[in-house]
């Protein structure tokens, strides 16, 4: 048994960290948050050049054929850099749904375009009920046409394809075809823009059945949790650095135990979230018996932890932490958005309770 990363995983993580530091430094993140879509075509082309846009897709679709652990490592580094734009929506979310439900020809066509960096995609799931339970989906395709409204659709304005989950299947829509109306939702996370998408009898191509999305959403949840771990790590690093340099009462504030203990708890929460995320990613990759419960554990723990790590980090920064100029709030905003996406901690605790109380996963 080996929990450490192997050599190629280490290399992937290290090179991703360097890539994001070079191509997407904080100044670039800030610039993109000020734009309408947080998308930059030039940066996207570079992500594709690295092979990142095809990381988990099979090699026969032009992908790198890597696993969920590798996806998690890449997302962790993207999270550390606060990479703005549709990478998560396109690769971890829409890509996983395509992999899980589409037929071979659809997978080849759509995934190869995504791998090459030529197309972006997103998934429209939530409706006015804001429920993550597929049973609550109302929108239905009638004779190959979709009608209805989806909310909280990430990166819809820059997506070439919108994958809509309907009552009677998973459908792919070209937003450029008439009848699709995309409207921005003003939301907290400035790096990942959300939209309402209205479909007015829009022709839709069926990809597959709704039952196929649960595994794909588990991959998305773990990818998001991994991104949160990267954000937590960055928040911790910035905070420890600040505690070492900021002086009050003639001393660096990090000498005071009240400050030190906040940092120690941030460390405990970050490392624990990282363990949970790596374990869940491996479980999904290997289809282990406890994969589903591990995903819920990772998503709930990382969601709670990234909020508390953000709270502690800003608290240690004092007044400086509350300014627009300081980067912490950008992470703090994303943490809140990610916390609710793909099931908030309460949702995942109930899912886990069901798995261990009713479905007997506890004896493991």
């Amino acid at each position: 048994m080996e929990f450490g990363l192997n050599e190629s995983q280490e290399i992937l993580k290290e090179s991703a960290r360097k890539f994001f530091a070079g191509e997407c430094p904080m100044a670039e993140v800030r610039r993109l948050t000020e734009t309408d879509t947080a998308f930059d075509a030039h940066l996207w082309a570079k992500l594709a050049e690295q092979g990142y846009t095809g990381i988990i897709f099979p090699e026969d679709t032009g992908g790198a054929g890597l696993g969920i652990v590798e996806l998690a490592l890449l997302m962790e580094e993207a999270g550390r850099a606060l990479l703005p734009g549709p990478f998560f929506s396109t690769v971890a979310l829409a890509g996983s749904v395509l992999l899980a439900v589409a037929d071979a020809a659809q997978r080849r066509d759509y995934l190869s375009a995504i791998s090459r960096g030529e197309a972006r995609a997103t998934v429209a799931f939530l409706e006015a009920s804001a429920s993550w339970d597929p049973a609550d989906v109302q929108i239905t395709a009638v004779k190959g046409k979709l009608k209805g409204e989806k909310l909280f659709v990430p990166d819809a304005a820059v997506a070439d394809w919108i994958i809509a989950v309907a009552k009677n299947g998973v459908f792919l829509v070209d937003p450029k075809s008439g009848g699709v109306r995309i409207t921005p939702m003003r939301s907290m996370d400035l790096t990942r823009k959300l939209y309402t998408v209205q479909f007015d009898n829009v022709p839709a191509e069926k990809l597959g059945e709704v039952s196929g999305i649960s595994k794909a959403f588990d991959v998305a949840a773990v990818a998001l949790a991994a991104e949160m771990v990267g954000g937590m790590q960055r928040t911790l690093d910035l905070t420890v650095e600040y505690a070492k340099t900021r002086k009050q009462f003639g001393k660096p504030i990090g000498i005071f135990q009240a400050v030190q203990h906040q940092c120690a708890d941030m460390y405990l929460e970050t490392e624990s979230a990282r363990s949970a995320v790596y374990y869940a990613a491996w479980g999904l990759q290997e289809n282990t018996f406890d994969a589903a419960s591990s995903v819920s554990i990772a998503k709930m723990y990382a969601s709670d932890a990234s909020r508390t790590v953000g709270n502690r980090g800003i608290q240690v920064h004092g007044g400086m932490g509350f300014t627009w100029e300081n980067d912490l709030h950008l992470y703090y905003r994303r943490a809140k958005a990610s916390e609710t996406a793909f099931g908030d901690p309460t949702f995942h605790r109930e899912r886990l309770a069901h798995l261990v109380i009713e479905a007997g996963a506890a004896s493991a």
């Binding site: 048994m1 080996e2 000498i255 120690a264 624990s272 886990l352 506890a362």
Partner: protein, 395 residues
């Protein structure tokens, strides 16, 4: 990253499993409810049996009677022990903490004298570290050893000594030089508890039992050949013992916690809350899931720490969070049990209405000590702040 067992690990598991199946005592369930002083001879006999099978200290090097097991194999060993509800071994501190310290620092004659008897449970060890005025600030301890010919003469008092009441030998930290800074003048002595001048008194804790003792030393003569490591280098020797305390111990705790949370889930099916099983109460479900998740994370943190130590040879940053994590988690688990049990939660062993013979009321009180013993949570956070994150020392 590959979390499947290797062929070697599987073979090891099968070997442990086969031995345990053939040798596990069948009457442990009758003994486990009895007070420790009554069951102690039973535990000694069980350890003796493990020793004869070569299983008493799998982590130790083979030349000292161990199996040179990797951390992962150790974790497999304890998992198998838990799977068959094996009794604990009598000489817990000797095997877990003090033996490894003697292997690391002892002279050949010390090793020959002590190691076999630690393994066979012929001699039980206790640990004389804390003092009434030296708790978190252990290095300020005052028990003094004065050289008199070829003996040290020890005077002072130790407190919170586990197994003191049954200890044959003690790993004792004493001050041998009062003129230097506090970390420098310490020495570790191996003390025969039958020496004249050693007095052991029970220390009654808030649970009502006496797991721990106070030990008084009055002009106790200890031969100089019983110095462990170098004179005045006792701090390093003691820290080595403390590292063991916070390290491999975690693997066994994970199993205890796993079993406790599973028991709690079972309990939730039968215990009623607001007229229906607690398992159907949405708030209890949230809290059960939270505790279950954290026990899982404790297990996975442990696996990650093991891989890190195996790869680098040094305890990684993951190791330092375990003590903090488990002690606070256990308090939350015990509080959840109390919440589920309501008024029944307070009933002690012996009361006819007590649930599961009062184990949860005991667990609640006992867990209060978890964030204090073996390094308080405050000290653990200081260690993480200073040694892991590089923040300036606060004291």
């Amino acid at each position: 990253m590959d979390l499947k067992l290797t062929a070697e690990e599987l073979a090891f598991r099968n070997e442990v499993r086969a031995w345990l199946e053939a040798n596990i005592p069948t009457d442990w369930s009758e003994w486990r409810e009895k007070p420790l002083d009554e069951s102690f001879p039973y535990l000694r006999a069980w350890q003796r049996k493990l020793y004869e099978g070569g299983w008493a200290a799998v982590s130790w090097p083979t030349e000292y009677g161990g199996r040179g097991a990797t951390l992962m194999q150790q974790s497999i060993f304890w998992e198998e022990m838990a799977r068959v509800n094996a009794p604990p071994m009598a000489n817990a501190l000797g095997l877990g903490l003090i033996g490894p310290t003697i292997i690391a620092y002892g002279t050949n004659s010390q090793k020959e004298r002590h190691i076999p008897k630690i393994l066979s449970a012929e001699e039980i060890w206790c640990q004389g570290f804390s003092e009434p005025n030296a708790g978190s600030d252990l290095a300020s301890l005052q028990t003094e050893a004065r050289l008199d010919g070829d003996h040290y003469v020890v005077n002072g008092q130790k407190v919170w000594t586990s197994y003191g009441w049954v200890g044959d030998w003690c790993e004792l930290v004493v001050r041998t030089d009062t003129t230097v800074s506090k970390h420098k003048g310490l020495t570790v002595l191996l003390v025969d508890m039958k020496s004249p001048g050693v007095e052991v008194r029970p220390l009654r804790q808030m649970t009502g039992e006496s797991e721990f003792n106070e030990i008084f030393f009055r002009d106790v003569r200890v031969p100089v050949e019983n110095v462990l490591g170098k004179v005045d280098d006792g701090w390093n020797v003691a820290v080595s013992t403390l590292m063991h305390e916070r390290g491999a111990y975690g693997a066994r705790l994970v199993l205890t916690f796993k079993s406790n949370i599973n028991r709690l889930i079972e309990l939730s099916r039968t215990v009623l809350r607001n007229g229906r099983p607690a398992a159907q109460d949405p708030i209890i479900r949230q809290k059960l899931a939270q505790c279950f998740a954290e026990v899982e994370i404790m297990r996975v943190n442990q696996l990650r720490a093991f891989s890190h130590i195996s790869a680098t040879g040094i305890p990684g940053p993951e190791g330092s969070i375990q003590k903090l994590f488990w002690s606070e988690l256990n308090q939350r688990i015990q509080q959840l049990a109390q919440e589920m049990l309501g008024p029944y939660g307070q009933l002690l062993a012996g009361d006819p209405h007590a649930v599961e013979r009062g184990t949860w009321s005991y667990g609640y009180l006992r867990s209060r000590g978890n964030t204090i013993e073996a390094g308080t949570s405050e000290i653990q956070r200081n260690i993480i702040g200073h040694f892991v994150l590089g923040l300036p020392r606060s004291y």
